[in-house]
Symmetry: C2
Subunit: 279 residues, 2 copies
Amino acid sequence: VSRYVLLIGFMSYCLMGAKVFQTLETDIQEKLKNSFLDAETALMKNYVNITPEELEIFLQMLALSIKHGIIPVRTGVVYFSWSFRNSFSFVASTLSTIGYGSIAPRTPMGQIFCVFYALLGIPLTIIFLKAVSNAILRPLSGFEKYLQNMGMEERRIRIYTILFFLVTGLSLFILLPPLLFMHTEGWTYREGLYFAFISLSTIGFGDYVIGINPSQNYSHIYMAIIMLWCAFGLTWIALLFDLFAKTLEKTKTKLTCHKLCQTERKSSGKSSYIWPFFA
Amino acid sequence: VSRYVLLIGFMSYCLMGAKVFQTLETDIQEKLKNSFLDAETALMKNYVNITPEELEIFLQMLALSIKHGIIPVRTGVVYFSWSFRNSFSFVASTLSTIGYGSIAPRTPMGQIFCVFYALLGIPLTIIFLKAVSNAILRPLSGFEKYLQNMGMEERRIRIYTILFFLVTGLSLFILLPPLLFMHTEGWTYREGLYFAFISLSTIGFGDYVIGINPSQNYSHIYMAIIMLWCAFGLTWIALLFDLFAKTLEKTKTKLTCHKLCQTERKSSGKSSYIWPFFA
Ligand SMILES: [K+]
Ligand SMILES: [K+]
């Protein structure tokens, strides 16, 4: 029961935020779009008499517009508008701390709201992803128990469990999704792989973003798959980084106190080596 | 000793990465810049005969250039080039998972290297920031002990310690830095505050980025302050989010098992409430 309360509460928080950002930001983008279109019209009218300086001013303005999520196309359509769906994507990318930045609040109110919204929302997301990490670690410890019942020695069990974690996660979250992106976003496999890693590691440069290809009509099923991929993939990669960090620290400790701690190492820190992270 | 090894190792990893990215990415940006300048020259030459379609194609190209970190200014200078300093900033923003994306690898080799570099680098950064978190928590437990020696009751000590953590961190990392940014970047106080929070929470939209104001000559002292601010601020805000998440979870548990766990609550989970995070 508690898990469903968490899920519903978290989703409500996201939907509420998406609505607020949409309300706060739509006007300014409309205004920017219009002023850009006016400038473009003026440029087209007077281009016989335009000086390099005037062109430059126009280009600077264009650069600003693009930063604000406006891409000029023939019909003057806003490329990445604060529609509810885009606003929701923005909220999801903010709370997960991916922060693509393909769209970001521009109004003073929107920016201030964003700070307080994330201040509460990121801890909520941490709790939510902790619940997801349990859902990942449970089958893993099931796998561990299965091997134990087969009478395998402890060291090998550990290696097989880690391998199982790496192989399934790597295929599900990093190696297979690019095939889907190739189809829906028109990227190469490498670009999809790069996007998958940059997103799930929460770096989120925003040089590749899904769901904004204007020639593509995204289905609801696709969006649902993406959300599941994000929730589980983010958690998996956080667990992976934690595993790497623990292993590296272990190695560092081994290197720095090669002989000193030899007896100490034998006695302690054997069973609590890998799982659980997120203690 | 171990701490200095860590610091030097981490810095070497960053510097090495900065050099590699610079080598991999400089050429393509040069090429893009030149093709943009050619297009601009062609546009300026023939602008009497230009059609709206041709202008549009030019604008699309401009949009692409801006995405690749090229901003057209009078002299055709690359705004955000892969200079060593910018490349180092890029590496720092990637490994901290802030990922502003004001500059990102465009070449296939650069993108692939980026994935593997971050895969090892992010765990290294986690280890590095754990060391920083010890440096933050040590004075805090010193403060706690000071209050204990004064004979204060445990509940009040906890409240005062959290308040001390909040007030000093909030002033040092969130409320004071915007004053510096107002001076160096020409932002308003609100913009600086927004930037500080969006950066330290590792969201990093990239709508505001420091160190790229072309009219400003950044001193080495400024860059050193920024690096210290980042290292300690990132850690402080991670501790803050963890504190919030733990408090929220505690509240959730209280709400869901209001009477059931009353006896349980009394007996356990009292001392291990706040510190240490990052167990
Ligand atoms: K980020
Ligand atoms: K980002």
